[in-house]
């Protein structure tokens, strides 16, 4: 199987400091393989090096060390660029062009012409939910609308590999759902999607594999179900219409928090099936409000990783 993306010891130092420039390691020897057809989540807290990696893959910056390949060719190759799409973080385009003109220009760069080009631009703008405002100058667009235009331009050439740097950022809940659908649609068409995010829920809903980057270093890579930190550790059961003596009698009191009038949240360990407790409670007249799995969030994972990682100062050398 050909790889969609391969990085080998990819390393990037930025020069920091106003007077005496010192190298600051933003990305440290990243070696990563992404297969074709994967929806790959590139996760990490702020400053982890996600954007740095994507910029290296787009050859917007050059690596200090190491190499990167897309579809088996070195990054920056014009023939490879024909087959990929890229949504930058916080995209920005031209103030005085309309959305239609911008996408028309980009489509032209891929050789689309005339009616075919107009059709391509039209369908993409429909797909990302830009209506008649497509004839307005982009400086009149809101942040979320720009983000949508950014998504459309990333897909203008029907790319085989799509790189999205925080595709959900700046979108309303409806927009986020649309983007999720869009990514799933791309997956169904057999395309590779590589996207960065710091939101675990996005990754869970979409990814076949994830990589977690903290402090410029790769911490984990695999499918989410393989990453033990995210296994379910227990259940949170919220019930109403129940009285304290009942809970006391069932021996649940130490694990219960009162959250309102006759409304309680009960934490259950993984080996205690919630259905049993629930049926016992419903007999007494309790009603189920919600039942949620308890597990580490991405945030918990980050916090644990960050506390175990050397402080940022140690990334500055010299």
């Amino acid at each position: 199987m050909t790889l969609a993306i391969r990085t080998t010891d990819l390393t990037k130092d930025y020069a920091v400091g106003f007077w005496r420039k010192r190298p600051y390691r933003a990305l440290d020897q990243l070696s990563l393989d992404v297969g074709t057809g994967d929806v790959f989540g590139f996760l990490g807290p702020n400053g982890a090096g996600k954007t740095t990696t994507l910029k290296l893959l787009m050859q917007l910056t050059f690596p200090t060390r190491g190499r990167a390949e897309i579809l088996g060719r070195p990054v920056g190759d014009v023939d490879v660029k024909r087959r990929i799409g890229y949504l930058p973080e916080h995209p920005y385009f031209y103030d005085y062009l309309t959305a239609e003109e911008l996408l028309g220009g980009f489509a032209g760069m891929f050789g689309y012409r005339g009616a075919e080009r107009a059709r391509r631009v039209g369908t993409l703008l429909d797909e990302v939910g830009i209506g008649p405002e497509r004839r307005l100058a982009l400086r009149k667009f809101s942040k979320g609308m720009i983000q949508r235009v950014g998504l459309a331009q990333a897909l203008i050439n029907d790319p085989e590999v799509v790189f999205l740097d925080e595709p959900m950022s700046g979108l309303d809940p409806l927009g986020r759902r649309e983007v999720r659908r869009l990514i799933l649609r791309l997956r169904d068409q057999g395309r590779t999607v590589f996207f960065s995010s710091h939101i675990l829920a996005d990754a869970e809903a979409l990814c076949s594999r994830v990589a977690i980057l903290v402090g410029g270093r790769l911490r984990t890579v695999g499918s989410l179900s393989d990453i033990t930190a995210f296994h379910v550790r227990g259940w949170e059961l919220v019930v109403s219409g129940v009285e304290e003596p009942v809970l006391m009698r069932m021996g649940l009191m130490q694990r219960t928090t009162r959250i309102g009038e006759e409304r309680y949240a009960i934490e259950l360990p993984i080996d205690e099936p919630p259905d049993k407790v629930l049926s016992d409670l419903t007999v007494t007249g309790a009603r189920l409000v919600s039942l949620n799995p308890i597990r580490d969030t991405l945030e918990d994972f980050f916090v644990r990783q960050v506390s175990g990682v050397d402080p940022p100062e140690s990334r500055v050398k010299g």
């Binding site: 787009m58 760069m109 100058a137 950014g150």
Partner: protein
């Protein structure tokens, strides 16, 4: 094939952006300036007004052009880097030097349209003056009012604008708009006094100072060579040989500056 396509697209976007950014408003100023002056002069200086209008018109074409070249040129690349619009473009099938070429062509196209419209306006005003002027005054003129020889001056002005644009773009590939403006403007001024540097040894005693001056003479563009306004207005000849040589000099200089800009831009990190 792909190259010319992507270059044309980038160029056309520059043109569209600058037109919508109200760059062509300066044409209105130009027209008003020309017409107001001609009306005013008509009452004052019998026989001389055509020369004055030619002088003023050609100087304005050059000056307005230089302002556009510098003020758009300095932002052409640096603004894209600052606002990061460059990110989505460079991910498309375009090489970095093609991007530079497109940006340059776009501004040259803008200048071409601008200079063309101004020239037509100038010829119209001059034609009108000739039409309304009494025959006995016309006989005193060195050259006809709507003199085709002015096109020589305009052509050289245009090559000079192309050169200034290339310089502005060059600075724009690695420095901020403000610094680029300072550098380009400095080079523009120095370029007009450049010819003086060649004979510096006649002015100072120091051999070192003289050779430094000579060095600068070869590095800086010789912009005074592009200024034949006075000759044209006073009906002195500008030979085809001089025109050809000066245009060739301009193109060689532009090519060098653009190559340097492409070289720098191709190695840049966009952080």
């Amino acid at each position: 094939m792909r190259t010319s396509r992507v270059v044309a697209i980038v160029a056309f976007n520059v043109f569209k952006e600058s037109v919508r950014d109200k760059v062509l408003y300066n044409l209105v100023f130009f027209a008003v300036l020309l017409i107001a002056t001609s009306l005013l002069l008509g009452k004052l200086t019998a026989g001389q007004e055509v020369k004055i209008i030619k002088d003023l018109g050609l100087a304005a074409i050059s000056l307005f052009g230089v302002f556009i070249a510098i003020f758009i040129g300095i932002g052409l690349v640096s603004k894209e880097v600052e606002r990061r619009s460059i990110y989505s473009i460079l991910a498309k099938p375009i090489r970095r030097h093609e991007f530079i070429l497109g940006k340059y062509s776009g501004l040259v196209l803008t200048l071409l349209v601008n200079v063309a419209i101004m020239s037509i306006a100038l010829y119209l005003v001059l034609g009108y003056m000739s039409w309304t002027e009494a025959e006995e005054f016309k006989r005193a003129w060195d050259a006809p009012a709507a003199d085709p020889a002015m096109l020589k001056a305009i052509a050289l002005i245009f090559v000079e604008l192309m050169l200034v644009t290339a310089v502005a773009l060059f600075f724009s590939t690695f420095s901020s708009p403000i610094l680029s403006a300072v550098f380009t403007f400095g080079l523009f001024i120095a370029g007009h006094f450049n010819a003086d540097l060649k004979h510096f040894e006649g002015v100072v005693d120091s051999r070192v100072a003289a050779s430094v001056a000579r060095g600068w003479y070869y590095v800086l563009p010789n912009l005074a060579a592009f200024d034949v306004k006075a000759q044209v207005v006073h009906a002195q000849p500008v030979t085809a040989g001089y025109l050809g040589f000066t245009v060739a000099y301009g193109f060689v200089y532009i090519a060098m500056v653009l190559l340097a800009a492409m070289w720098i831009f191709s190695r840049r990190d966009f952080k």
